[in-house]
Amino acid sequence: MIQGTNITKRFGSFVAVDGIDFHVEPGEAFGFLGPNGAGKTSTMRMVGCVSQPTSGELRILGMDPAVDGSKIRARLGVVPQEDSLDSELTVLDNLIIYGRYFDLPHAEIRRRAEELLEFMQLTDRRNDLVDPLSGGMKRRLTIGRALVNQPDLILLDEPTTGLDPQARHLLWDRFYQLKRQGTTMVLTTHYMEEAEQLCDRLVIMDGGKIVTEGSPRELVARHATREVVELRFTTPEERDRALPRLAEFGERIEALTDRVLVYTQDAGKVVALVTDGELHPESVYERRGTLEDVFLILTGRTLDD
């Protein structure tokens, strides 16, 4: 579906995307995970054919965006990071107008619009203006709008950023349904949970480069450990005193400002050692290894930084 080779995007002297290679297979949910400023949105704009790579070779749906941008965009469904709904129009008219941009016949758009309103749970708001809708509803409408042309490929740029957990889970549920129908999805996110839940395969980006690539499970197995113990200490001094011991307990440790992470295959054993070793952490928390840990280990920073 998408093949990118050595893709670079510069804005003046600023390098937003620095020679990345990636490909997306049909039916796959593919993710770009990384902190803000990693180059995810710039990459999405290039895949969405609204921005040309400065260099490198990009093929989308077998076509060259520089030549067939309009033809490619006709088959994409784009959910941008920032809302871009027309607040002068009703919910239904937003769908109709967007469908007209694809030159779909009016009757066909109306039929699809009713289906999409149902799918996105907006049917009872169909004749309301967009402005009074909640953030979650606007997002749902934006996603419904992106589906109006029955796209071969859906691009979701930070689809749930800024939403409350309930609204987020409703969207994830919809994305699963699309996935089950075999829709190819590309999404960017800086929520590791979102990446783990939705992506079959992903790349982790940092500073315009791809740091690693694989399925969520593979990445955790390759770079992190199965289990992690998080410890908090009352003072930085106590934390620093505990560090050498903790390093012996686990395969590796990461010392953050507010906590220490101990990477291990057996969290229970580490907790027992901590208790026996009289390290007196304020709190101890066992969990499994995640993509957040992968990012931390590879870049030395957390995704929120």
Binding site: V50, S51, L76, D86, S87, L89
Partner: protein, 258 residues
């Protein structure tokens, strides 16, 4: 057959406008018509008594085409400033449009075409009222409508291109006050440019509005200095429109698809 992408943009504007058309038509026509009543009839009475009109023409007849072209310019400009910034920055609907088969150039073209259609409607209403008031002695007057639309589209194209890269609407008030309002007053709208100081007269040749006013006046009064002058005015306006469109497409492309 596929609908040209620019016309899909026009259709979008039409759907949005349908909801608010009454207020919009009222706004776009009532103020020019008040001007026409005050200047043409009120002030015109004084002018006619004092000097027998302008160049032997009744003042209402003189000022009608001037106001028609100048109001068209003002409407074309207003529709090209705030709504464009709204599309690119406040609502971001332009970004949504260019992620579909619609290109930035088609978006620009569609918006300018739409504004021209709006001006066409306002100018037609204006002309009908002016006929009733007795400001249009010639049947050629109907040609003042395309002349006013042509003049307004010159401003629409240039200001669309200008507005699309602005960060805020603060400079817009300056453009209106320092740019458009002087043109409104000194482009042969309310008095002939021959009354301007000698050094200022050549400046008016560069005002697209002056050319539009001269075309409208030739139409509504049914008398032109020469056929050559008509062709000259049209050529100047078409050249300005072409340059504005070229620039506007570039600016839209830069702003939306960097």
């Amino acid at each position: 057959m596929a609908t040209p992408t620019a016309l899909r943009v026009v259709e979008k504007e039409w759907v949005a406008w349908r909801r608010l058309w009454k207020a919009s038509v009222f706004q776009a026509t009532i103020s020019p018509l008040l001007f026409l009543a005050a200047m043409g009839l009120g002030l015109g009475d004084l002018v006619n008594k004092g000097s027998g009109g302008v160049n032997g023409v009744d003042y209402l007849v003189f000022v009608t085409p001037g106001l028609m072209a100048a109001s068209a310019m003002m409407q074309g400009a207003g529709e090209s400033l705030w709504p464009v910034l709204g599309g690119v920055k406040w609502m971001r609907t332009y970004h949504a449009a260019v992620s579909t088969p619609v290109s930035a150039g088609a978006l620009f073209a569609g918006h300018v075409i739409w504004i021209s259609l709006r001006v066409l409607l306002s100018a037609t209403v204006f002309l009908i009222v002016a006929v009733i008031l007795g400001g249009v002695p010639s049947l050629w007057g109907v040609l003042a409508i395309p002349a006013a639309v042509l003049g307004a589209s010159v401003f629409a194209a240039a200001l669309n291109g200008y507005a699309v890269t602005q960060e805020s609407d603060i400079p817009f008030a300056v453009i209106l006050r320092m740019g458009l309002f002087p043109l409104f007053l000194f482009s042969g709208t309310f008095f002939p440019t021959s009354r301007l100081p000698d050094w200022l007269q050549p400046v008016s040749w560069f005002s697209p509005l002056w050319h539009a006013v001269e075309l409208c006046r030739a139409a509504t009064t049914g008398s032109a200095p020469s056929a050559g002058s008509i062709v000259g005015h049209i050529a100047f306006l078409v050249a300005c429109l072409a340059a504005g469109c070229w620039w506007g497409v570039r600016r839209f492309t830069q702003a939306l698809t960097a």
